[in-house]
């Protein structure tokens, strides 16, 4: 068995499937069987008319052997003497139980070198079907396609939610609470926002701008306040973000907007923030930004990111 160096998701998915699926899920049930008493010269027509390359040989409901086109060719090459299928069929055959995992079929086909293996019921030992490599590949592809399709449908639904809702003005609003002074959790709200916007089918550049603006705002809540809320309203043409806290408030907003101006203590700077770029970054990412702040009361930061203009930019770039 080949062991891949890197486990890419497709491989893992197939691996999962060959263990989950049973032999009966992939086998062919509508069987063309051959009778051991049939003449070998008739075999070609049986195989050709059903477009198969081999068939199990059945006598009184019991599997007695396998006959294939290869056996037929070999028989021809050896002179094509008059004989029955019984004389030319393989009798030393490996069988599979219908409830075995598909991976057993894969390894058995590999080991025996046979093109097909008969499948029998575990209880009565009767022939239930036949399985080929082609059957396995077809089943896996089909299953993968279904899973992929399900994923596509989910995405489709999320990104078309706006078309499904009827209204002159539709906005999807969600709110996250941000805990103050908790650096381990800082960023979780923005991480969630980023995922949500992606799921809603927002253009990549809009998602990036919103994520960065939200993250800077979230860091400000964590660094300077005892916590606050980030409320995001998503519309087809714009995203509005409202970041609110209950203090301490910004003393000089104009100064706070200057690149490099910061009141952050050293411990914040050691974390890679507090360099006086937060609000500057937020402004850079938004199409409109407003701050209202009262010392001791709190700050309300309003951000708007236009969806159309950003999309236009990313197309132009």
């Amino acid at each position: 068995m080949m062991i891949p160096k890197k486990s890419n998701p497709e491989f893992t998915k197939v691996q999962e499937l060959v263990y989950k699926l049973k032999v009966r899920d992939a086998m062919t049930k509508d069987l063309i069987t051959a009778d051991p008493g049939t003449w070998m010269r008739e075999l070609r027509e049986i195989l050709r008319s059903s477009r198969i390359s081999g068939a199990p040989v059945i006598k009184e409901d019991r599997l007695v052997g396998l006959i294939s086109i290869e056996d037929f060719i070999k028989w021809l090459a050896e002179g094509g003497e008059k004989c029955t299928i019984k004389d030319r069929m393989s009798t030393d055959i490996k069988v599979l139980y219908e409830d075995e995992p598909l991976t057993h079929a894969v390894s058995n086909l590999e080991q025996t070198g046979f093109g097909r293996l008969p499948v029998i019921g575990r209880k009565n030992g009767r022939l239930k079907g036949i399985i080929t490599k082609g059957d396995i590949i077809e089943t896996l592809l089909h299953k993968l396609e279904i899973d992929y399709h399900d994923e596509e449908i989910q995405r489709y639904r999320a990104s078309h939610i706006f078309e499904d809702i009827i209204g002159d003005k539709v906005a999807l609003t969600f709110q996250n609470h941000v805990k103050g002074k908790d650096f381990n959790l800082a960023g979780e709200a923005s991480s969630g926002l980023k995922k949500t916007l992606e799921r809603l089918g927002m253009p990549p550049l809009v998602v990036r701008k919103a994520a960065i603006a939200s993250y800077e705002a979230e860091m400000n809540l964590v660094i300077y306040t005892d916590g606050g809320t980030i409320t995001v309203a998503v519309q087809l043409d714009k995203i509005r973000m409202d970041v609110k806290d209950n203090g301490p408030g910004i003393a000089d907003i104009q100064k706070a907007m200057e690149p490099g101006y910061s009141t952050a203590p050293n411990w914040v700077r050691e974390l890679g923030f507090g360099a006086g770029m937060g609000l500057v970054n937020i402004k850079k990412c938004s199409d409109k930004m407003d701050i209202e702040s009262k010392i001791g009361k709190g700050t309300h930061l309003k951000i708007r990111i236009n969806v159309d203009s950003a999309q236009h930019q990313s197309n132009a770039g």
């Binding site: 650096f183 960023g187 923005s190 990036r208 800077e216 860091m219 770029m277 500057v280 970054n281 938004s286």
Partner: protein, 129 residues
């Protein structure tokens, strides 16, 4: 300076150039890197970094990973031999962001990657409005 910086390299190659060790994201070493950004200041990273860049930093806390997530950084290298806390590595693992660590100093790392023709900036994406 006339050297044209338009090379690209996969992460496994960068790892060799920087004599680095992989901390997490072994499955993503075939990621292709075109741009590099170096900074210890996460605010600067958020402000200037281009999507898909490779980040060199001396900062090892979990906010580096958050920043990488928000700014769509494809992989992070910790310089000066600073190995981060398990928290940082776990978060990166969860966010599928590969981390590597090198004993080389920041300047040396930048120099080697520049020498290999990796750029710090390109004009294909602008965030300025």
């Amino acid at each position: 300076m006339t050297k044209k910086l338009n090379n690209k390299m996969n992460l496994a190659h960068i790892k060799n150039v920087l004599e680095a060790e992989v901390l997490c994201g072994h499955d993503y070493l075939d990621k292709e890197i075109k741009l590099v950004y170096a900074s210890d200041l996460m605010s600067d990273v958020l402000s200037f970094v281009k999507s898909g860049s490779f980040l060199l930093t001396g900062l090892t806390n979990s906010q580096v990973i958050r920043t990488a997530e928000m700014a769509e950084i494809s992989a992070v290298c910790f310089v000066n031999g600073k190995t981060p806390q398990p928290d940082t590595i776990n978060l990166a693992d969860e966010k599928k962001i590969p981390l590597i660590v090198t004993k080389l100093l920041m300047y040396e790392c930048c120099g080697r990657l520049h020498e290999k023709g990796l750029a710090g900036d390109d004009d294909s994406e602008k965030i300025e409005s």
